[in-house]
């Protein structure tokens, strides 16, 4: 299996765009194609020319680009029933796309020939043969996607095989076995692919979907059985449960199975590429995604953290940096002293003694019992450490705040006003602000109060605000946990506040956010000296 090479065929721009919530702009399509080329994929399927004008615009733009490594493919289908191939509008669209590679899908499941195409088995074979031969005559590299191949093979192996052999005879360069409904089991994919490899000796490709949670495993099994091309999408985007996830299978092939597909130095950009794609379509990235997710190398249990410190191999199947990811230590009630120590180092709190670590752990557990969670609140954790070690020095002191929310009549707007009174050294600042809701007003008043003393606070933006009711059965008197993520454009930090009162919980998280920023500022100034 070692030294084998597998080609990566990316169909994010076409099959990926079938996903609920995914759509690309024309510019976005070109941007992604450039990134995919730089990363090192072998084929980029750009769209279905003729199906919509955006796809044709991509192919026109792509002709002006120079790709280093990847070949651009246009996607379409075999000619229509009882149509001359040269007159078929889809086939004409494929030629107009002017790509070196054309991928066409054809039916290989008799159920589809009968119920969807509503034609005969023979006419379907002629459609495959005519279309492949015509595209080859026009100088294209032709990839034949045998749609529903595995279901078709299970239903009628002879006919499914006949379809493949017809495409092969007409000159197709690669025959791709598709599990279009995504319901196959890995052992079925292995056995069927092996049969086909033995019968055809063709270049085989594999195209899987994730409807039974086996999209990646099925493609891996096909590669083991002989496939040399893997079709999939970035982050597994695709119709229903998605396609084979390339961000998973590329490192699995390259790093775990020793099968060359993407150069190792490129693979170190995998997490960046994954985040770029999510960003492009404005989807939240999957924290649990294999290899590239934020949590993929996060360790929470105390025993695990302890072991990873002793030897990372104990709880990590690859090195996070090989895919551009990093290790994170999470704090929770199951954390032990070693997590605390590591985390204190990670957040820059320096080294603590054994006694100090024990004191931090004790305070942490007490706060977690109250409903605090520090997993996403590094900044609050750092302030906690400072407080326990008596190194915390507040930049200002709260004298008081008041929030008023008022509505006068069912159709009147709801007004929120907050006042804040703080003491900065010897000066009292007393400010008021309105806002979209009480927390927004409070945030406004606090900024007004302290920005004359600390103008850097004006760069801080709140990037994320989450509210969680911890004991919802207590209903409106329940404990509320507020998590805030703040950013100054360069760095991002998380803080947390807990109270029975949602306003107070928000206040506590806001306070930590501001203090952390000022603290970072001071530290940077100290370093410069």
């Amino acid at each position: 299996m070692k030294n084998k090479k597998v080609a990566i065929y990316d169909t994010t721009l076409r099959d990926g765009a079938q996903a609920e919530g995914v759509s690309f702009s024309s510019l976005g399509k070109i941007q992604l194609a450039r990134q995919l080329d730089a990363f090192g994929v072998d084929y980029i399927e750009g769209g279905f020319p003729g199906s919509n004008p955006k796809d044709m615009a991509f192919f026109e733009a792509a002709q002006k680009e120079t790709f280093q490594h990847a070949k651009i493919a246009a996607f379409g289908s075999t000619r229509r029933v009882k149509t001359k191939v040269q007159n078929d509008p889809i086939v004409q669209g494929l030629l107009q796309a002017k790509t070196p590679v054309v991928t066409i899908y054809g039916k290989s499941w008799k159920l589809h020939v009968k119920d969807v195409l509503r034609t005969t088995a023979e006419e379907n074979l002629a459609m495959v043969s005519d279309t492949v031969a015509f595209l080859k005559d026009n100088g294209k590299e032709v990839i034949f996607d045998a749609e529903h191949f595995f279901d078709g093979y299970k239903h009628d192996p002879d006919y499914a095989m006949q379809v493949l052999l017809t495409a092969q005879k007409a000159g197709a360069d690669t025959l791709v076995l598709c599990d279009t409904n995504g319901g196959c089991m890995p052992n079925e994919v292995f056995a069927i692919t092996q049969n086909i490899q033995e019968a055809t000796a063709a270049n085989l490709g594999i195209h899987t979907h994730n409807d039974a949670g086996c999209g990646v495993a099925n493609a891996i099994e096909a590669v083991r059985a002989g496939a040399v091309q893997v079709q999939g999408t970035m982050n597994g985007y695709g119709e229903r449960c998605g396609n084979c996830n390339l961000t998973t299978i590329m490192p699995a092939l390259q790093l775990k199975m020793g099968i060359a597909c993407i150069a190792r130095n490129q693979l170190q950009h995998l997490r960046d590429l994954s985040l770029f794609v999510d960003d492009l379509v404005n989807l939240r990235s999957d924290v649990r995604a294999p290899f590239v997710g934020h949590a993929a190398f996060s360790h929470k249990g105390g025993a695990h953290v302890n072991a990873v410190q002793k030897n990372p191999e104990t709880f990590e199947h690859i090195h996070p940096e090989d895919v551009g990811n990093e290790r994170h230590v999470l704090l929770s009630e199951v954390s032990g002293g070693s997590s605390i120590l590591l985390k204190a180092q990670e957040v820059g709190g320096g080294t603590a003694t054994k006694e100090e670590t024990a004191a931090i752990l004790k305070e942490l557990k007490a706060l977690e019992h109250k409903g605090y969670a520090f997993e996403a609140a590094d900044a609050s954790f750092r302030i906690l450490v400072q407080k326990v070690l008596n190194k915390h020095k507040p930049f200002f002191a709260l004298e008081g705040f008041r929030v008023v929310v008022e509505k006068r009549g069912a159709d009147e707007p709801c007004i929120s006003e907050a006042t804040v009174k703080v003491r900065v050294q010897d000066t009292v600042a007393h400010t008021v602000a309105e806002g979209d809701g009480p927390v927004n007003a409070l945030d406004g008043a606090l900024r007004k109060a302290i920005s004359p003393f600390f103008p850097e606070i004006e760069n801080v933006q709140l990037a994320d605000f989450r509210v969680r009711i911890l004991d919802p059965q207590e209903a409106t008197a329940a404990t509320t946990q507020v998590q805030i993520e703040s950013s100054d454009g360069k760095k991002t930090w998380g803080t947390v506040g807990v109270s029975e009162n949602i306003i107070e919980a928000s206040w506590l998280a806001l306070l930590d956010s501001v203090e952390y920023k000022l603290f970072m500022q001071e530290e940077e100034a100290r370093k410069k000296k």
Copy 2:
């Protein structure tokens, strides 16, 4: 393979809680255990007694429950190095949990014995043997989790096998092969499991993680090779990339492979169970999740929608209703209309005409666009229907409310006070109340205002209160959705409110809750006449 039976071992409460962002309250743990039992899983691992007080609280509460089908398991480890088993605090904790089943993990990878335990290969075997035998002597069903089994076996097959045989000899009822680092490939899992099955003839279990995207496939392969117990978590929660996802593997085994694990009539509640668990830990459900995701049977491509209409088998690998899911196609005015009609009948709004249905649909879509969600808010939906049909008659009119939250000094308590002014027929009620937080105060003042006119309102309890920030990137100015569940001891109903202002969103949900109660009361009185 048909007619084989596999036991489902759920570790959501223990290994699932290792996930970033997942934590359960003590009450939440019991609620989930009840749901899992009703659904039909065989084992429920409740936690690690001794590691934290919340887990022990669960086991105490579990002793008072009657489970119909599931056995509760306590999780722990083998005794410590050079400790007498009866004196080991973890082993003592396991007995204190008073569960019929105890699951212990032991090391089977020499690297861990050396680098993590820092002991000898022989002492590790003694630790396994002593602990299993002691727990068997205490009448427990003992499940032995061979941690890092596959990595250990690849490294030193003889030693890994020795560990298993030691546990078997000491009386372990099931030997579980764990891919703790989640990096194994499906074919490795199959081959190794088959070797073990041949060598031991033991009851084998499989515990996989998803670090290479093969968590489910690996467990499937182990079952094919002989495993009769599958360990996993609901929605695949778990450390790093998560555990084997039970919501995927249960239908895969039962519906696709013909292996009995969960009765088919129970499997129809799978999507509900999946949503319940996400809701319990306040995580957004994965729309692309196999079988249970919202998009799992969504058809976007025109050709696919068309084909599915002709014959669902063409693009669906199972029937969505078999897992409690449903097909989604691009909603036409007509199909949308029929679901609205159904829903309106379901919540007792009576039959509506075609025009009325269209008007309800329009209003519903407008509100959903604003951030409303009616899945758990039947009462708000009913009030919406009444409003659209001009059948809504308010019991009282809001003249105004004001909420004040005030804190005077960092260590002073935060005071919440609300005033409410409503008109009931010709009388104005103007009341004030304090509360634990602003919403609690508002709730108190509203009840005070209307209970003299509608004393039945005093029986209404708020059973659940949830807050969701809909566009968290807008930070503190984000849109807030508040969901309230109310109960009068007999009936339970859900309401929803949305606003940029969390107080107003809560007010809207409170208002619907009270109106719905009064409306139900009136209807009952009418029926009695």
